[in-house]
């Protein structure tokens, strides 16, 4: 046996599980397809600027603290988090601009400019959101939710969760509309549904409280988002853990119905007692394990999942400070428009001309990411993997121009004259680089029928000694949830093999 554990992918879930295993004496190897750690939460250098590949900020940072505590270490020794405030700047099509600060009372004052009634509703929303995050959903982020028994156990331990059952029946849109009457306020809290890959109409209602969770504090790591996985990887290496870069895993080796190692693209076979996957569950089961090795029920199950949204990222370097007000700027119109973009454009494989986008401004928090006086911006939009407009390689430049036009014409943000660098990472690039089927940025679809016990299990039932981490398993995409999945995977393995 070469290793106790082989981990496929150095994303946040895989690294977190690997660090826990290495800390507990497991001889562990992480095989990473690219030349760096982090997956969707990584950064890269390009013409003097440091750009983030995907994730742009971190909230619920206590999950990272919990991971480092499990490792017997202090987060601050590995990652330097910079608090981000205000949370969002908003730019609307009618030229209105405003910001939401982290402070709940400060946000109430902003909302009061649009509606006194909504300002009062915000107090209630924040109260419910705080309870939901601190006493209900926050508690389940590092707990297994594989079976009804797990779910009932969590429900018994945290009965507050039961209060939120109604928000599983309601959708994100109805939940927001229940609290807020102003179209401006509703729209300002709607984009968060796309943070889990669904429009407000299809996203479960309990996720509407994401709009509050950011008020618990959001952070940006000094040195770029890649500093988070680099910090975890450093701790992992201190325990003797190994990482093999440019090592693409071609298949999971099986001994009967048990995983017993991996085979790399160059034909190298690495034997291990267990395999931990940090890649998309569809790729894992259908390609690496192989359909022919799965029972019929497992094939049917894994094929039934839709992958999450794809989203091109545009990296921009500027030679002056952009005319923005916050680390994140949301350019938007209305809540209805956010749904229309999905139902009329995205599902019909059309690139939307609505122009709604999220602009991240990492140099607002950390100026060291760009040459002095320069700045980095990341533009995230929603666009299909196979657009009817043509192949992504052919429409890359067209997409860039389209988004710059939207910034200028719809939202009055003209940056063309100050552009020094412009690079488009398309969904096809993500598929190639991060092995995400369909360019999916959050693993699998995150609706209620693909959540908790209905999301692929951390401890696989279809293949013994195979464990899953990352966005495809409970709790879904995002930095804290994927770390949570790694913690759960680590705990399972310690229980099974410790």
């Amino acid at each position: 046996m070469d290793y106790d554990a082989v981990v496929i992918g150095a994303g946040m879930g895989g690294l977190s599980a690997a660090a826990i295993l290495a800390k507990n004496g497991f001889k562990t190897l992480v095989c990473e397809n690219t030349g760096q750690v982090g997956g969707c939460c990584s950064s890269y250098d390009h013409e003097g600027y440091r750009f983030d590949i995907g994730a742009s900020v971190v909230e619920l940072a206590w999950i990272i603290d919990e991971l480092f505590e499990k490792l017997g270490k202090k987060t601050s020794d590995y990652i330097d988090f910079i608090p981000v405030d205000p949370i969002y700047g908003f730019v609307t099509e009618d030229g209105r601009r405003f910001t939401y600060p982290v402070d709940v009372d400060g946000t109430r004052e902003v909302i009061a400019q649009f509606s006194e009634e909504d300002a009062r509703a915000w107090d209630h929303f924040a109260e419910v959101g705080s309870e939901a995050i601190n006493f209900a959903f926050g508690k389940v982020m590092t707990k297994p939710m594989q079976t009804m028994k797990d779910m009932m156990k969590v429900g018994m331990e945290h009965p507050t969760l039961l209060k939120y059952f109604k928000y599983m029946i309601l959708n994100f849109e109805s939940t927001l509309c229940k609290y807020f009457k102003s179209d401006t306020v509703r729209a300002s809290m709607s984009l968060q549904s796309y943070f889990v890959g669904l429009p407000p109409a299809l996203c479960p209602g309990y996720l509407a409280f994401l709009a509050y969770s950011e008020h618990e504090g959001i952070f940006y790591p000094r040195g770029g988002m890649g500093a988070i996985p680099e910090g975890v990887a450093k701790a992992y290496r201190e325990f003797g853990g190994e990482i093999k870069f440019d090592a693409r895993v071609k298949k999971v080796l099986l001994d009967g119905d048990r995983a017993c190692g991996v085979e790399l693209a160059d034909g190298t076979q690495i034997r291990s007692k267990m395999v931990v996957s940090n890649i998309n569950a569809k790729t894992l089961y259908l390609e690496l394990v192989g359909e022919e090795n799965l029972p019929a029920w497992a094939k049917r199950a894994i094929k039934s999942y839709d992958v999450s949204i794809s989203a091109p990222m545009i990296m921009l370097g500027l030679d002056k400070k952009p005319d923005l007000d916050a680390h994140h700027t949301i350019c938007y119109s209305t809540l209805d428009e956010m749904n229309r973009v999905w139902f009329d454009d995205y599902v019909n494989n059309k690139i939307t001309e609505a122009g709604f986008m999220l602009i991240s401004w990492p140099t607002h928090a950390d100026p060291s990411l760009a040459p002095e006086g320069h700045h980095c911006l990341n533009l995230v939009t929603l666009a299909p993997f196979n657009p009817v407009e043509g192949d992504w390689d052919d429409i890359r430049e067209q997409h860039l121009e389209m988004q710059l036009d939207a910034m200028e014409e719809k939202f009055g943000l003209d940056i063309r004259d100050n552009l020094t660098v412009a690079k488009v990472n398309t969904p096809k690039d993500f598929a190639k680089m991060l092995l995400h089927p369909g360019g999916a940025v959050y693993g699998l679809c995150n609706d209620i029928t693909c959540s908790a016990a209905f999301r692929p299990r951390v401890r696989s039932k279809a293949v013994k000694n195979l464990y899953l981490s990352g966005a495809s398993t409970h709790l879904g995409g995002g930095v804290p949830p994927t770390i949570g999945s790694g913690v759960v995977a680590g705990d399972f393995i310690l229980k099974d093999f410790g």
Partner: protein, 48 residues
């Protein structure tokens, strides 16, 4: 309970559910329709 009473109870529950569904706003209906289409897959998803 007689067979007839049971049948009436079931019909009553069904009518009640349809009534609740019809009283929902369009957004919630669209959400529940979306979930409804996924329900046949749940028994498989539960075990994967």
């Amino acid at each position: 309970m007689s067979k007839k009473a049971k049948r009436l109870l079931h019909v009553g529950m069904l009518v009640g559910l349809v009534g609740v569904y019809l009283s929902l706003d369009e957004s919630t209906k669209r959400y529940l329709n979306h979930i409804g289409k996924q329900v046949p897959y749940l028994p498989y998803r539960y075990f994967i």
